[in-house]
Symmetry: C2
Subunit: 240 residues, 2 copies
């Protein structure tokens, strides 16, 4: 199993995804928030690129009881039901609901991953479950970091490195690209204190500065979920 890693959606767009399994990671916070939402009974997410697109889709499908979720510069969007904080996605709000979601980086990575054979949602919350699912899939893997505005970000790369580490420990015979290997080295450096790494990352510091520091602790709950949401035909949902 070959394993490669893209630091940003831009890099992902340039890679050949055909026949491959892609794991999309936006550890602070979009993919972590989605996993929390599914744990709380959410039915599906529909990722869209823009706020306008989200509003139009919600208006067109009033029959579906859709919710609008997402952020711009980490903050909730005016008129939306939910932000991008995992604390927003409580059972009483999201149970059985479909959420139209737009976030700055996570959504772009998802859209860029569409050519892959399978797309999975990853975060620190579901590392072990992800590893098992990838081994079961038996495909070459590309880890797709959402990054920050098209650039590298520390937390997604470390999370990607954690997946490489889990795959190795679970006995997968993998050959790593330079970037996957570098991510694993970074993970090994930070693995004893993922929360601190998240807190001290550039984006973690920004979240803290706008009063969203509590979310970081939730995103640091390694292996707290057995769920591996899939992204298929424009929707994110649980297929088992």
């Amino acid at each position: 199993m070959k394993i490669d890693l893209a630091f940003s959606p831009y890099e992902l767009e340039k890679k050949d995804l055909q026949g491959k399994a892609v794991v999309v990671i936006d550890a602070l916070r979009a993919t972590s928030t989605m996993i929390v939402a599914f744990e709380n009974g959410c039915s599906a997410f529909i990722p869209v690129l823009t706020v306008e697109e989200a509003k139009k889709l919600a208006a067109d499908r009033r029959d579906l009881d859709l919710l609008l979720g997402g952020e711009r510069r980490a903050l909730p969007v005016e008129g939306f039901h939910l932000g991008n904080s995992p604390r927003d996605y409580r059972p009483e709000k999201v149970k059985g609901k479909v959420v139209i979601m737009t976030t700055t980086n996570g959504t772009q990575a998802l859209i860029a991953a569409r050519g892959a054979a399978e797309v999975f949602i990853g975060a620190f919350l579901n590392l072990s479950a992800l590893s098992h699912r990838l081994i079961e899939a038996g495909r070459d893997v590309i880890i797709a970091c959402a990054g920050e505005k098209g650039f590298f970000c520390l937390e997604d790369t470390v999370c990607g490195g954690a997946i490489v580490d889990r795959l190795e420990k679970d006995g997968a015979a993998i050959s790593e690209s330079d970037s996957a290997m570098a991510a694993k080295v970074l993970y090994e450096y930070f693995e004893n204190d993922i929360y601190r790494m998240l807190l001290e990352s550039e984006w973690g510091q920004y979240l803290e500065s706008v009063g969203l520091g509590k979310d970081i602790r939730i995103c640091a709950r390694v292996d707290s979920s057995r769920l591996v949401p899939v992204y298929r035909e424009g929707k994110i949902f649980l297929d088992r």
Copy 2:
């Protein structure tokens, strides 16, 4: 002093370079080769993007006794005087000469760096000299990895991390971006065997496979040069 790192010319293009010092790194092999060439008395390099551009420039300026150097897929270009191997740039060939140079990744990084206040040429060969020069410059720094076809490559990032490490050890008060910090962590992981890291990197393996393995040992000669070439007004030369 803020220190940031771009994994590729694409990332560099998106950064604000105004007033900053940029260090361009293409450790395997372009910037290492340039440093070796300057050690051997080469007078200057003129980096250009394409083979055609190189040939045209040489034809237009027959008065200057120019040499053509560079590579495509690591191999010499037909009709050129020099490849991209440091072993090509022997004193008897390059002393007092100006080389028009085109390489796949290194040249792109140089061109992308042109908006900066100062641009320096970096490699493992001149780490300590670079650190002193950057401290003297007193500007915020962006380390520009040439990368591989627009992507991350291990060896340039580790070399970038080595610069961050040197700056710290030389007492510079620096604040690191996520990417600069990650590069430093990677450097600390590999610092005891830079040659092996180069050899086992994807590009190192490719060089080995096309019979250019000897170059890797030359590119691993940490601190073998006190020279810090500058890139200014389209030319790379020694300004002191």
